[in-house]
Amino acid sequence: MPKDGSELRLDGAGMPMWLTCELTYRCPLNCPWCNNPLDFDKYKNELTTEEWKRVLREGRAMGSLQLGFTGGEPALRDDVEELIAYAEELGYYTNLITSGMGLTKERLKAMKNLGLKQVQLSIQSSNRDICNALVGAEAYDHKLELAHEIKALGFPLVLNIPVCRQNIGQTEDILSMAEDIGVDYVEFANLQYYNWALLNRPEFLPAREQLECAEAIVNKHRARDGNKMTIYFVIPDYYADRPKACMNGWGAIHLTIAPDGAALPCQEARVIKGVEFPNIRDYPLEWIWHEAPVFNKFRGDDWMKEPCRNCDERGKDFGGCRCQAFLLTGDAANTDPVCSKSPLHEVIESAVVEAINPDRQQRPIVMRRKGSITTRFLKTA
């Protein structure tokens, strides 16, 4: 899956080069920063194997190249193997983005033979207790064992660490663990605050000093390891002066298909209310990508308001993230408030002040779990 803040800039020439298939919202873990919708359990009508195959076929015909199977936990679907084989036949570079739960050495081996190119495995800590507490399950031992199996099978392994206040102090230990496994890419993905992560933001957002400390450790390892192990360190944009070039621009190179077939310009897009996301059950993918109003809504820069409209950096960051603008300012067409030029930048500053205030009332962390919050009165799109 492409990262926010990824160093890679790529002109897709109008093609959805990056296709993300969220096979299911179901997951055995309860990660409290999950980017699935808060009402994830309401989506029951997952696409069938044949419907996913049509998505893959139509995506490939439009030039999709990088394919990510994700979720929820994609391995909960027993047709992942079949979809991997089909994707290979079509010529995708296929990536499995997994928590590791539900995967075994045998399944991975079969997937390798069927053409899976890469595995991205999440691990939350180098400490068993902290890892298990963060995901709400006994997961650490299995994840660690699986990481070794993935390498033994010859996959390039991306180890993804969702970074929050609870684990940022373990950066050194996590890197040692990654070196020990023989990981190819370590991705310190500081949480991006949408959905469940936003709900828990005051408990998760680290202080600037913690980030700087972690980044210094990362830089030390980078100098030592060279390109034996590539380390990405994605800072939380709350501490950036300019917004991330989210998704390389709306509807530019990324296309996400949600478990129920809704087509989204990014995995979080469902948080934006008042717009209609077309479903692949109703429209051909080609129409969706090129013609659907929601995909055209924030393409290019005609939609921009001030200060983006006349900003000389608008071609660089595209005004930041539409979802973040919607969630924090109420209008998806506003400048991402992360930008210090945003007239509403104060919402970011006050979030940081709240998070780092040692005397604030601590809140319990809400785990991603059906029933842990009521979504009954949530407005739906």
């Binding site: 990262k3 890679l8 990088q66 190119k117 890419y185 100098a223």
Partner: protein
């Protein structure tokens, strides 16, 4: 630092091969060669692709230069060496033992 050391170590007799993490192939919709790897795609121009095609574990750098100099009817040694150094530093190719 590391990159500089590796770059200097390239010699005319070296034989390169693709690092197995990278998948190099023709991509019809892009009408170009691409390099695919975890989290990334690099679209290659014609000359870069011509060099990488010869990083097949068989050709020495000398042979690559002589082949491509013939093909493009000009001395390409500088640009080939430079491209190989960069590709090696990026980890796309590795020296075959």
């Amino acid at each position: 630092m590391t990159e500089a050391i590796e770059a200097i170590s390239i010699k005319a007799g070296n034989i390169f091969e693709m690092d197995p993490k990278y998948l190099f192939r023709w991509e019809e919709p892009q009408q170009s060669y691409v390099m695919l790897y975890p989290e990334g795609v690099v679209k290659l121009n014609e000359t870069s692709a011509a060099i990488l095609q010869l990083c097949d574990g068989k050709h020495t750098i000398e042979e690559i230069i002589s082949k491509l100099s013939k093909k493009y009817t000009t001395d390409v040694s500088d640009s080939v060496n430079k491209f190989l150094e960069v590709s090696h530093a990026k980890g796309w190719i590795r020296i075959k033992a």
